[in-house]
């Protein structure tokens, strides 16, 4: 019987009522008395030396209140990278300053070098256009192609970095020789060069920020589109503007999607704060969609060569990858962590591989910064492994299912330490594989392929057995590896006097449904109605210092903090109950929402204990304080490791190269599932993003660094009619062994597991149709498929 409330129930998303009725409370919905508008002046060349900016040309234009240029921010700090990577030779990575506004040089199309503050947006745009005309920029040759960037020392994104290299990272360097030897000795080596295509995040809500300054107490408020308001506050205060944190409130209200792109602090946030103080007026900025394309941090953009050494019967002996990872023109906050510790550490996949070595060079180019995007490093690793393993099976004429089965870790092998330093705590990869094969009717595939053939179509099946690492932690370990932040999270459970509950969480919901799921968990544990629980997030003046939401961490990390805080509530409640019931604390049990004296019918309801805590007339004041409010910070002792098996079935039209995804099946192990409906929705969304990457999303810069796919006229997003019904299963659960809820995280899985399944299916279809095609780079557009088929 499905539950109708609490953990495991498909409670309907309470936040959807306001989203679907137009009552969402987004940043741009906030209208401020006396507000002014910021308009950014952005470079239209990819690389150029700023010779002069004649601000006097616009200062007297109608409505213009202020003009800022890079010169105004020379004295303040740069927007830092959150993770220090060391190169193989021990040298720290190169960290050029990322200024609020470009100074001296512009480094990508869309790089903001000035800002106009005006009475209206329209006046701001007029002035921005005039200022652009009054600016002299000497265009320099653009660094676009990564291989050319590292080869040409004369053409530099940053003058002080001769080879455009941020770092040259080896993971693990001690594995290098053994991997080289294993590949030399391997009876078969599969080599595959592949591109993990760059993606534009395309959150439905564009970035938006409003700065306010209060002269009464010299304090600031930033309302902004952020996935992690406390992190933004820390960055803007401590690193960029030097404002004491107690003088700053950051509020991220309803946020319309992030997919990673709103983790990061952006220059516009600092700008509106500085402008607000200067003008003593609120200053707002909202990106136009064109600005989002040019200035949001993009995702992926790897070029990889992967080699897989194997026995002739498909046992994997070694994996080696060499990757160029684009970081764009500047280091975004997590841009150095994403291709390294969220990518190289996953390169063993779900397999028992004796030897793995990853080399990754991060390269500066004259393109928008690249950072984490749904999956962040793990999709790139999964794509490399799962494409290469598929190719190996094909080369050795082995069944791709059996090759995976032969190499998958087995349940008895956990905990398992990989050669790339992760410790997988638990899993059952055979179970998810079997479940996916069953749900996809793998046995019936040949009959379906024959039916497709009778209609002139080529049918193919593609498999991906994937693993990821969520809830990145623990802080002491990531600190040793170069992280500059902690990776815990926090929750405050405030029981109100009448027993209703407000929970202030460090996680941030920008579409995930925390308000619903977190309330289910609290209600379940405390035995009260879900409707009596509200989740508060996004306002640093209300919530404890948590790290926000990304990397499928909210439930595993913040949910655990919430669980720990409830433990404290229950423990305190027991003391209060013991006093009221005149029993020993050790005899009090908490169950079904009541504190009971074990073995008797004496009990106090949760609400009675709460009331007593706030009206402490009959109360153990010498033993416990009044009130019922507890905070917990939770720092996990390991990642969580969701895993699963995805099967994609496609039909290719040989006349046009059009690929139709006809079936998609996901068998996932997310550990314990709190709300199945929301989990399924997360997988649907992730798979659709993965299908988008694999089939149609094509971010292209030309050789001059102009973004060719800079609008929806050329950048294709997946739409409902591009995707099939997606079969989702999460029954093969092995609960996480080290967090109290046994959860692993589900937000990114779909986007991680799906691209290789789809491309594998296309390659399978073509080969079944007699076309000897080993690989097609994403997106597998009709033109590319047709070209591959026609040599």
């Amino acid at each position: 019987m499905p539950k109708d409330s609490g953990i495991g129930a498909s409670s309907k998303r309470r936040e959807d009522v306001r989203f679907l009725t137009g009552n969402g409370n987004y940043t741009d919905d906030h209208s401020m008395q006396g507000e002014a508008h910021a308009v950014m002046v952005r470079s239209n060349v990819a690389h150029g030396k700023i010779l002069s900016i004649d601000t006097s040309a616009v200062e007297n234009m109608p409505g213009v209140l202020a003009v800022f240029t890079g010169e105004d921010f020379v004295e303040v700090g740069g927007n830092p990278a959150g993770w220090l990577i060391h190169s193989r030779d021990g040298e720290p990575m190169r960290e050029p300053k990322r200024p609020v506004l470009a100074h001296g040089k512009v480094r990508h199309v869309g790089d903001a070098y000035a800002a106009i503050i005006a009475e209206t947006v329209q006046q701001g745009r007029d002035a921005a256009e005039a200022l652009a005309a009054a600016t002299e920029i000497e265009e320099l040759p653009a660094v676009v192609n990564m291989a050319a960037a590292v080869a040409n020392a004369d053409n530099r994104v940053h003058d002080e970095i001769p080879d455009n290299l941020c770092f040259d990272w080896g993971w693990i360097e001690d594995n290098r020789d053994a991997v080289d030897q294993a590949l030399k000795d391997a009876p078969h080596v599969t080599t595959l060069e592949l591109v993990n295509n760059r993606l534009v995040p395309n959150a439905m809500e564009p970035r938006s920020s409003i700065g306010e300054y209060y002269s009464s107490d010299d304090s600031y408020k930033l309302t902004t589109t952020s996935q992690n308001p406390h992190l933004t506050k820390l960055l803007v205060c401590a690193f960029v503007l030097g404002i004491p944190e107690h003088k700053m409130t950051v509020v991220a209200p309803d946020v319309g999607g992030g997919f990673g792109s709103k983790i990061y602090h952006y220059g516009e946030e600092a700008l509106v704060l500085v402008a607000a103080k200067k003008l003593r007026r609120p200053v707002r900025w909202t990106a136009e969609r064109s600005e989002s394309f040019l200035s949001d941090a993009h995702g992926r953009d790897h070029v990889t060569t992967i080699e897989v050494g194997a026995t002739l019967d498909g046992e994997i002996l070694a994996i080696r990858t060499n990757t160029l990872a684009n970081v764009g023109a500047y280091l975004s906050n997590f841009s150095t962590a994403t291709p390294t510790f969220l990518h190289g550490t996953l390169m063993a996949g779900p397999y028992k591989v004796p030897h793995v070595y990853v080399n990754l060079k991060a390269v500066f180019t004259n393109t928008a910064p690249v950072d984490a995007y749904r999956g962040a490093g793990r999709p790139e690793a999964t794509y490399s492994i799962e494409r290469a393993v598929d190719k190996m099976a094909r080369e050795l004429k082995l069944d791709p299912v059996e090759v995976r089965r032969k190499n998958l870790l087995t349940p008895d092998q956990f905990p398992y330490t990989t050669p790339v330093a992760l410790v997988y705590d638990t899993g059952n990869y055979q179970a998810t594989l079997d479940k996916a094969l069953e749900l996809a009717d793998y046995a019936g595939f040949e009959a379906r392929a024959a039916e497709s053939k009778s209609r002139g179509k080529l049918r193919g099946m593609g498999l991906s057995t994937w693993i990821e690492a969520c809830g990145i932690a623990p802080s002491h370990l990531v600190g040793q590896l170069g992280s500059r932040v902690g990776l815990y999270d926090a929750a405050t459970v405030r029981v109100n006097a009448t027993g209703s509950i407000s929970v202030m969480v460090g996680a941030h919901s920008h579409g995930q449904g925390h308000e619903t799921v977190f309330a289910q968990i609290v209600a379940d544990k405390l035995g009260i109605d879900e409707g009596a629980v509200d989740i508060v997030h996004g306002d640093t003046s209300k919530i404890p210092f948590g790290m926000g939401s990304y990397g499928s961490r909210s439930l595993a990390v913040c949910g655990s903090a919430m669980d720990r805080a409830m433990d404290k509530i229950i423990a305190k409640g027991k003391k209060i109950a013991a006093h009221m019931l005149e029993a020993s604390e050790g005899d009090i049990v908490f169950e079904d929402g009541s504190f009971k004296v074990e073995g008797t019918d004496k009990a106090k309801a949760f609400g009675e204990i709460a009331f007593a805590a706030y009206v402490p007339h009959n109360y153990p004041l010498e033993e416990v304080e009044p009130g019922l409010e507890e905070t917990a910070f939770y720092d996990p002792n390991n990642f969580t490791y969701p895993a699963g098996a995805y099967l994609c079935e496609v039909e290719v039209d040989p006349d046009t190269g059009v690929v139709e995804v006809v079936a998609f099946t996901c068998a996932d192990d997310f550990g314990n599932v709190m709300n199945p409906m929301i989990v399924e929705g997360q997988v649907h969304g992730g798979v659709v993003q993965g299908i988008g990457q694999a089939m149609i999303e094509n971010t292209t810069y030309d050789e001059n660094g102009q973004l060719m796919s800079g609008s929806y006229m050329d950048y294709a997003m997946p739409r409902a009619d591009d995707v099939p019904m997606i079969t989702v299963d999460h029954s093969c659960a092995t609960p996480c062994t080290h967090n109290p809820l046994g959860v692993k995280g589900c937000g990114e899985a779909g986007a991680i597991g799906s691209p290789p399944a789809l491309v594998n299916a296309v390659i399978d279809a073509l080969n079944r149709g007699g076309h000897d095609v080993a690989h097609i780079d994403m997106p597998v557009t009709p033109s590319r498929v047709w070209s591959a088929m026609n040599g």
Binding site: D655, T656, D714, A716, T781, S783, W786, N790
Partner: protein, 261 residues
């Protein structure tokens, strides 16, 4: 968007007079012009809306032709051009519902986007573009990318489409814009077959005469099996190579012939 004046005349004469102003620009449904203005890529001084002129709206049967007012929306054509089912079906698949309920045939033909559907239909139908001053044969009207025979201030009053015996339009959509990557309209008339292609050529919509000859002799997909289009002069971009577009012309033409009704 820059500031502009707006006028919505109710007669052709008033519209022509309003358009005499040097900075004036005719506005149909605004599905191309308005986004262009929003991006500050166009700055007309005055927009002269043509959608308030009653005689420029609607679909009416005129002997063996359909006359469609220049300010008629795609949705209206889709709903009311049933006498020419190939044309109605084409109109029903332009853009999305918002585009179809605002965009007009006159606007599309005046703009002559190289990937638009209507130029293909007009050329394949041997349509006549009737303006406030003259009648222009479709074969003379389309003159390259975004270029037509229209003079400054000239307005498309209506478009006369001879009704074919059979016709079909096949659109292979570009995945982002969902304009035609390649669109082919085949129309079979008593005196021969016309085949027009949009989306593919660097010179805009064109007739595939070799296919027309083959199909006029034998209206079947097999008749063009041996024909191919030269990739030289075809568009190459993010979405497809010139060779791919040339290939698609053949595929779409065969499919249009097979589906023609």
């Amino acid at each position: 968007m820059y500031n502009f004046e707006f006028t919505k005349p109710t007669s052709i004469a008033d519209a022509v007079a309003a358009l005499a102003d040097e900075d004036a620009q005719a506005l149909g449904g605004g599905q191309t012009l308005i986004p262009t203005m929003k991006q500050r890529l166009a700055m007309p001084g005055t927009l002269v809306s043509l959608t308030g002129i009653a005689e420029m709206k609607g679909v009416c049967r005129d002997g063996d032709s359909l006359a469609i007012g220049g300010a008629t929306t795609h949705a209206t054509v889709a709903a009311e051009a049933g006498d020419y089912p190939g044309l109605a079906a084409m109109a029903a698949h332009i853009g999305d519902p918002a585009v179809r309920n605002r965009g007009t045939i006159g606007g599309s033909l005046a703009n002559n986007d190289p990937s638009a559907c209507y130029p293909c239909a007009a050329l394949a139908s041997g349509a006549t573009i009737v303006t406030n001053t003259r009648e222009i044969a479709a074969d003379d009207y389309f003159q390259g990318l975004f270029t037509t025979a229209l003079e400054e201030g000239e307005i498309i009053i209506n478009v006369k489409f001879p009704i074919p015996e059979k016709s079909n339009y096949q659109k292979f959509v570009q995945p982002a814009s969902r304009f035609a990557l390649v669109g082919v309209m085949v129309a079979k008339y008593a005196d021969g077959v016309r085949v027009a292609v949009t989306g593919a050529s660097e010179e805009g919509v064109f007739r595939w005469t070799a296919a027309e000859e083959a199909l006029s002799a034998n209206f079947s997909a097999d008749a063009i099996a041996g024909l191919s289009v030269d990739a030289d002069g075809m568009i190459g971009d993010l979405h497809g190579t010139p060779e791919y577009r040339a290939h698609l012309i053949g595929v779409m033409t065969k499919r249009a012939v097979a589906a023609a009704a």
